[in-house]
């Protein structure tokens, strides 16, 4: 069964550094998403992406964040100048537009 793949599974970085979280969506999907889950809290929507542009973003998704689809398979989330409060689980999801979003296993980001 096709699945969404996220790398790395765990990323440790120093405060102020930039990180790139990578996702390979399901191959025939056209809609891509990033979510964040701070430990012990609910999953929060960050951004959705379609047709090579952001279609919707939340208040969390400020200028510190950016997304990109650099080639035909990867979908990345870049976090510039990381802060301690960016420590969270980051989930990528993809959809063919027919209601179901399929989630990856997540990347645990630890900012020290």
């Amino acid at each position: 069964e096709p699945e969404v793949t996220q790398t790395p599974s765990h990323q440790v970085t120093q405060m102020g550094q930039e990180v790139i979280l990578r996702c390979v969506p399901i191959s025939n999907h056209l809609y891509f998403y990033w979510y964040r889950q701070i430990l012990g809290q609910k999953v929060e929507f960050l951004v959705s992406f379609y047709n090579n542009e952001i279609s919707e973003k939340s208040e969390i998704f400020d200028d510190q964040f950016s997304v990109e689809r650099p080639d035909g398979s990867n979908f990345t989330l870049k976090i510039r100048s990381t802060k301690l409060e960016d420590s969270a689980m980051y989930f990528c999801a993809s959809s063919d537009g027919q209601t179901i979003q399929y989630f990856g296993a997540g990347t645990r980001l630890s900012v020290l």
Partner: protein
Amino acid sequence: AQTVTQSQPEMSVQEAETVTLSCTYDTSESNYYLFWYKQPPSRQMILVIRQEAYKQQNATENRFSVNFQKAAKSFSLKISDSQLGDTAMYFCAFTPYNNNDMRFGAGTRLTVKP
């Protein structure tokens, strides 16, 4: 704004018994979808079941079924014949028809006891 509320932070059930997890939501949308996702200790998000708001019939997937009450904006999950592998966080989620912005509840931690 759409909100999803799960009023039960934690629940437990004996193996083989039935448990119901509650979820309510608030929206002005008429077309939307509702989901239950399971998050085991591995923290992966696994889709359990989904319901289209325009369908009156409650969705069922094997041991999992929902009680969808559109007028009351209620969407509970029933797990029958609970198994140890059902132990996980369960998140109720809502997305409008355009499927752009999925909102999650705070989750219910379910423990199945042997």
